[in-house]
Symmetry: C2
């Protein structure tokens, strides 16, 4: 058995609208799904306002702590889109109209017979030296600098950028998971499940209550990077639930 | 015009399942809506795993910075429910089986003819001296200590606890908002809107692109704590959009 490799990540979602409730975030859950699939551990998420100080502080806290940091939001053409400025400030480099991005956008607006306004030119701004993250939906690129990947907040664009970005990133050994459905609530399975977790320290066993308006049931999720460890823990969880069922029939 | 009062808040959502993508959070958006309604400014959200160190660090960072801190998740009966322990550690007080919570739970299980198992007793654990947050859905209380409000992760329970809690909290002057729908994308309105924001520095004007698969339109949201300021900015935004419409007809 080779030792699994661990690659960690954080996400920073940026935007007043997420904190006022006006927009319900859809990017965090999508990123979580995609990272789990490719074997990158999402360890922390933060949401902050369109506030330069808050963005700079969060970026600096996260980029030293995790292998990858993904951001969403604040890269459009309006005055409240300040992510490019804030990231530049965090890296202490100038925020410039990137020449290649200016060309891409100028050509796109030319094709569409639209004016390349000053506001639209804002979308070409990024920290000097940043690499592009392609945007097949609406052209204006995201960008990568250091271990920070800056993407749009509009979910269709965020998802398209992530699809382009993910295959280029260092990933780890994917975590596999199995879900065992328990008809009993956590109050019934909690004690025995603690023992199962102790018996299988190299797996992570999570317990997720579901409430249908009348009673609780539980999904037990076992996670591991190794198939044999996963199968052994799953067998013991299944046996545990069967044993609970028998003991309750005896009551 | 009396000076508006500002009360700030942060949220900490706790749970491995939110970071693996298995569960899509529903509590952040709900809390954001409710806080906006009562006049509390949600300034920051963090999501961390069921990891004591991560919870303690986040709690200590947030509780000194904001008036109120709301948490969700990790207060059930299983081994991965470690929020009560982590909060106790952050406040350096023992985590105890609260006597009143033990009574409530014992009576509930008695009524339902169910055993009050060791796992279920875990749900009575909280930092010594904490106050209860009532749980009309499933009895096991949340708790408040200092400016931290610890609630369940199951959305129905989170929402019920929040309904009980919010009327007891210090709130500020609610922010009011008006949305002006623009048929033009941000690239068209970005320049003129920057000027409108400059003319109305005491309002916050946000611009939210919408993409229908073919083209972008924009919702312009104006926020202020004073009705007159709001109306003046709204009038100027509306006039701006009409002017853009006229100039495009002239083209």
């Amino acid at each position: 058995m080779t030792s699994p490799s661990i690659v960690t990540a954080a996400m920073l979602a940026i935007g007043d609208e997420l904190l006022s409730g006006r927009t319900k975030d859809k990017n965090i859950g999508h990123l979580a799904d995609m990272l789990t699939m490719v074997g990158i551990d999402l360890r922390e998420v933060r949401i902050v306002a369109d506030d330069e100080g808050a963005i700079v502080d969060a970026i600096n806290a996260l980029r030293s702590r995790y292998d990858h940091v993904f951001t969403s939001g604040g890269i459009g053409p309006t005055h409240d889109d300040i992510t490019a400025d804030a990231i530049s400030k965090a890296f202490e480099v100038p925020c410039v109209h990137d020449a290649k991005a200016m060309e891409l956008l100028a050509a796109m607006y030319e094709r569409r017979g639209m004016e390349f306004t000053e506001a639209r030119k804002r979308m070409a701004r990024m920290p000097a030296g940043a690499a592009h993250i392609p945007n097949p939906v609406s052209t204006a690129p995201g960008f990568a600098i250091g271990n920070i990947y800056v993407m749009a907040g509009v979910p269709q664009v965020f998802q398209a950028m992530l699809d382009a970005l993910l295959p280029t990133l260092k990933a780890g050994t994917p975590v596999q998971s199995r879900t065992v459905r328990s008809p009993y609530g956590e109050g019934v399975i909690g004690g025995p499940l603690t023992q199962v977790q102790k018996n299988h320290p190299e797996t992570s066993i999570g317990s997720y209550p579901k409430f249908d308006g009348k009673s609780f049931s539980t999904d037990i999720v076992i996670r591991a990077r190794d198939e044999a460890l996963l199968a052994a823990a799953e067998a013991e969880v299944t046996a545990m639930i069967e044993a609970i069922g028998r003991s309750r029939q005896d009551d």
